[in-house]
Symmetry: D2
């Protein structure tokens, strides 16, 4: 209703449409020579000391623009600078820890803990809060975390910065602040553009292909955040079918709507923001989409996926190398096993050969999916859906004969089943005991040697 | 645009309109006897151990409903239970502090700091995160903080809970997530109802009075949060005038629009959520409203307030008791001073007497406003506007002759001036040096004894 | 979505919020003396001759403002002026009619008909089109039609103006351009204000009463038009109940939601725009609301009304005067009949007396409702619902004991039933044959003399 | 605001997203054999006799679906059927005309005119009203009018149907019901798709080209109608420049925003709905966009076009053939004239030759633009802008060297100037006297023979 519309959004929009014609401020050489590091350090220092919020924000905007102008090396130097010069004060922490140890009454202990908690907050936390209030500040923090994640494994000193950003963004991107929206051909072109750019599972080949993905009995839903109005955070693609889908190309290429759809197949789920990796939203998205589909389409009875097994082939190769295949599996493969191990994929074009490979592939794939390590399924996609409370329902032979489908999964795809009444129990037993709920169909595929 | 609307909001709305017909779950006696405390503790324990998010959320919703059903004593017991049984693990903190002291390399130190930081996070933090994701969870956390604030000064053990809620809500209510909206007669009735209920400065007497407050050359703006769609967080009332306003009743009762308005008078600013006390949004609201008014009305040149001096009269009384009035001030008052000190306000009805009081009142009020303690103005309203970068522009005699205006401020009101080009400098010198930018008009009111 | 919002609506809003500070233009004495009539005639003449649309619109806005400034007499003079000086050109019509009669070929006939059709369009039609394009033009035309309707029965020359406005507004307010919206406590205050002002059936006593009408298991829906964003065109109030409601005060005063609602009772339907009288939208509103309720609440199985019999009492009085009551009806009434005929309503307060009146009232009310004149039910409310395809389901004794309920309907109220599967058939047989679908319950109330 | 959102739009959207899975009803052979014609005639007959609106609408929806399933011949037969069997009743018209001639009193005359006006309304008018209320009825009527327009010049009997549709759609698409919206990369993809498909002046080559057209200092605005939410009715493309633009490729290919833009150049205006041809909305769109740009960008001082001369080259050819060029023009051309007359456009690639052509082209183009016929500029684009009140400001040599620019306009483009203070006067003198406001620059280009 325009009668009670958001002025903030209107101006956010105006700003997007009419970007500043001139941008001045801090000009930084892309590789950030040391003189500039000192200058940036001084800028950050002044910003943190600035008592007036508007002035502080102007300084923060300058800093953000400076960072945007840097190359990858410059980003690294900037992050190091933040982590090393604007972290915690070791002396203050030591003092607080000492006080804590001396505290003799509950009240003194409580006070000492509060002080200690203050002391372990790095100084750059205040900078992150100022940036959050900038017009495009939330988006910047998401990108900043992506940069930190790309470096953190090499650099222990970035760990605290990563923790700080993770905690801050986990709160900002709490599911209570996210909007579920259906994405259709009537969605903003900028949203669709971003969707094409980021779709990670099954590439979209241009606008016509995208239109087809959104038409007929296809659905797409995404989570959006108020501070990033036209960028999906995570999105899922769904096809309505009659019965469980067993073939991806058939799903993607079908022309007509289905008369008797009773099943929603989730065939692609994409986190569109690398900077939010590990902020688990996919789980919640699937649940909300199941609820929404149930509400809007009374005929839908089953909710399942058509998923790849991204780690299967490399696991198979290592099993072969380690002579770890079961005798029954070797038997099932027969001489065709070599073709797979060698990386020769021409069998895909030879139906007879492909048919001969089938028993070996399906039996090892089934065993692979049911294998856990440290209480988690080895396969990352399996782990995701099992954690959500889905069960392992069916394997489908040659369900994705595309290059990328063969390369990772030897063309096999899995249906994970989301049965609402069993989700909590499935997730519970998987997450606490590593127990994987599996259909008889999949269990029977495993060629356990008879005794 | 319906073409890309929020499904989340639609269902949030549906829920509001069609509340659950039946509510079951935890039923708690209002005063929470100990058996129930144990049961609640057990519920919280299970919730924190529950691995599946939907089940966890259902449990959290039950807990929220239970809390809503308690009386004030029950709330206190619940908060104590949280703070005492679900806080930090002292042993873990001690271990982390000891590790830190032993750390001999930078990397070990960095790791130990991260561990310590984990250890000082109380267990109830996880509960607050789960509640945030509930449909009305953010509103609940705001109310919960109000309950904590009402108790915290008596109860040191609630300090950490207050810190945790403050930090969490300060992030959730970051200005980057707030919407500025104009509030008009076309706003939702629920918004207007809330506005009438919470207006703290100049009470609104029913719907017709409210309609008058929003009509003609009056404006009202508020900040809204995506998780509380129809509750203003903080709002400000503005009157467009020609020149600085010097009389509140004239402002509120005028019938017609002003032909030559050049000034926006901010005459009331209200924080509508007690649970967000201290999350400073009023400052930001004034700045954004100044920008919006500048954009939409080219003729506006001046931005100022018409504000009370809430602490003036009690300060005056204590000055009199302490014999601390200056001789020149005593002289200015003459014998009428007694009338004020005695608390007899009948002088308001006696124009001649009121006129005789004027010099004494204005001179002491001017000195009062310019007095600082610990680098801050004694008057809370003065401190608010001076911190924002406003300056002390003018005192107005008998500007608010209503009972509450006489009781606190002897009828005086102040104009604080927001001059955009000077805001940063004013705020800086006030906040760092306690220096108050004052007009000659106000300076000249102070009756400094001549030497 | 702000990303694709309507600029038009934003400015329409801005205009509402910030009305022009000064209005100049044509100043007309309220009673429109003849000098002014000439001036207005000249203005209209110039407007119709003006080739440039913006200039034309400015002139039309001046005319609208002038009309708004007139009193009722002035309005009458203005309407006469339009109808008499800016109607059709009789000579042109006569020429076209003559051509038509001379036309000897189909093509000539077709051309002559087109010419005739042009000739019968009055000149003021062009003025109405210009006004439609003004910012508040559509609202003005609605008000103008109300003024014409109030005069047309006295004034044959206004008939063509009425036809023109009716045709124009029937197209502008086609159901294809209307928005169905639920009206709740979150609707704009201006909408709710209008609702209170116009509710025609059961008066709303202030904002608290209104809030109660919209809360719990009450619903309200209205049609809105894009050119009148915050004015309901027609609205309906609905209560969800278990079974058919038989008592209005119980319905309006109940406090709690109903656990097992299976029925939606339409208890009030109001046309909020007198200028749209006869543009039949109530019928369509009921049908769309039935569909919406069915969609949003699976448990609702029955859709019915609780309606007054506005013409019943005066019909009864005339039947008595004409000695037209059946002997069985007289018998049913007994001596109490006089109380009713005399207009003494004290029986309402005497339960025993009321109970004795019951058989006579219900039997005559049932016969009254089933009586047709020229193929239509005598009772206007009955005619409305029967035309929509509802059936006559049940009479309820003392269902509305309020003053206005006794005065018109002797407290009786009717349930008309909307059974979706029978609507088309019911409406068809009623509208074509005057046949009223009636339940056995109602049929049995009629005291047909036995032979 | 979801709190007061349109249910109608939500369901309109749902319908778009989830089209009926099954469609049954009237199946018509594409070429509409006579048996079907009788059946359709019978359907229309029943529809017009059906008293119940929902049943009527269902029948109308079936008819619309049937029409959509027909090929072009079938459409023709359907239109003929409507026009011939469901037009007016000649006998009734004759009777009404006769009554009119007999009417001897003003009242009788008034009544007879009203009757005549009823009689000249064809029966299919009622069908058009029913269709308007269908979910996609307005769009259908627009398409239907396009079909009628494509046939009407050959078929006199369709003239009345054209009149009826024109009058009906002119009311429905009154500017008072249209929404002005900016079209950006954040607009619905369906809107942008339609824009690419219909852009009539300067073709858009795919999505990347479109994105470029909407970026930086480019703007696009369109009118939208509530019943066709994602279809622009008419749209205009604007480039912000410093000074008048003189070259189209430069305008379309520039990469950067302009620092000192003071001029808005309207370089393309497209009616996106053939069925609304002649419902003049482009004029109004330009005026509203000028207002909006003025509001949002204070620096813009000038509003002009960069327009083709679509009729220039063919006019020049006919002037040459008729030996009507002035001697001074022949002189200006010199021997190069032949190149143009022959249709050999290779001169575009030969800068020296092009330069020699310049004087002849510009002088004849200037004279061509200033030439009127029946009080209107010969050039259709000139007539459009001059009718709107623009003036003829400047000719630009080789401003559009693209094939289509050479073919029609010999590469010349015109700047028409919209000077707000002169628009009403310019339009007035042009439309009433055929007088074209022309700059001295253009006047001086004309090579009037000296005497």
């Amino acid at each position: 209703m325009p009668a009670h519309e958001s002025i903030t959004r209107r101006h956010r929009l105006d700003r997007v449409l009419q970007p500043f014609r001139r941008r001045r401020g801090l000009i930084v050489a892309p590789n950030l020579p040391s003189a500039d590091r000192d200058r940036i350090a001084k800028e950050v220092e002044q910003l943190l000391a600035q008592p007036e919020t508007t002035a502080q924000r102007v300084a923060a905007a300058r800093l953000v623009a400076a960072y945007r102008g840097l190359d990858a090396d410059g980003h690294g130097h900037f992050l190091d600078l933040l982590a090393s010069r604007f972290g915690t004060d070791p002396a203050a922490i030591d003092r607080a820890a000492a006080s804590l140890q001396r505290a003799s009454t509950p009240t003194a202990r409580a006070r000492a803990e509060r002080d200690l908690r203050q002391a372990v907050v790095p100084r750059y936390a205040a900078l992150l809060h100022v940036i959050t209030g900038l017009a495009d500040g939330v988006g910047f923090l998401v990108d900043l975390r992506a940069d930190v994640l790309a470096r953190a494994h090499d650099d222990a000193t970035l760990g605290s910065l990563e923790d700080e950003l993770t905690g801050h963004l986990a709160t900002l991107f709490d599911v209570g602040l996210l909007d579920l929206r259906q994405i259709t051909w009537d969605s903003p072109a900028s949203v669709l553009d971003r969707l094409m750019e980021t779709e990670a599972v099954h590439e979209i080949h241009g606008w016509e292909d995208l239109r087809h993905r959104l038409a007929g009995d296809q659905r797409c839903y995404g989570f959006f955040h108020p501070a990033l109005p036209n960028e999906p955070i995570v999105f899922v693609e769904v096809a309505l079918t009659h019965g469980l889908a067993d073939n991806l190309p058939h799903l993607l290429e079908r022309e007509d709507a289905v008369d008797d759809a009773d099943t929603a197949i989730f065939y692609s789920i994409t986190s569109a923001q690398p900077g939010l990796a590990g902020v688990h939203l996919g789980n919640e998205l699937i649940k909300q989409v199941v609820d929404e589909l149930r509400r809007t389409d009374d005929d839908l009875k089953h909710f399942a996926t058509l998923s790849p097994l991204p780690g299967y082939r490399s696991w198979l190769r290592s099993e072969v190398k380690a002579n770890a295949l079961l005798s029954t599996e070797l038997e099932a493969f027969g001489p065709e096993l070599d073709a797979i191990v060698d990386g020769d994929d021409s069998w895909v074009l030879d139906p007879a050969l492909a048919e001969r490979l089938r028993p070996g592939v399906l039996s090892t794939a089934a065993r692979y999916l049911m294998t856990t390590r440290d209480g988690r399924a080895r396969d990352s996609v399996a782990n995701f859906h099992l954690s959500n409370g889905a069960s392992l329902e069916r394997l489908n032979w040659l369900a994705n004969p595309a290059h990328y489908g063969i390369e990772q999964s030897l063309g096999v795809m899995v249906n994970y089943l989301y049965d609402r009444s069993k989700i909590a129990a499935n997730a519970g037993s998987y997450l606490t005991e590593g127990s994987i709920k599996t259909s008889n169909h999949v269990k029977n595929l495993v060629k356990t040697p008879k005794r």
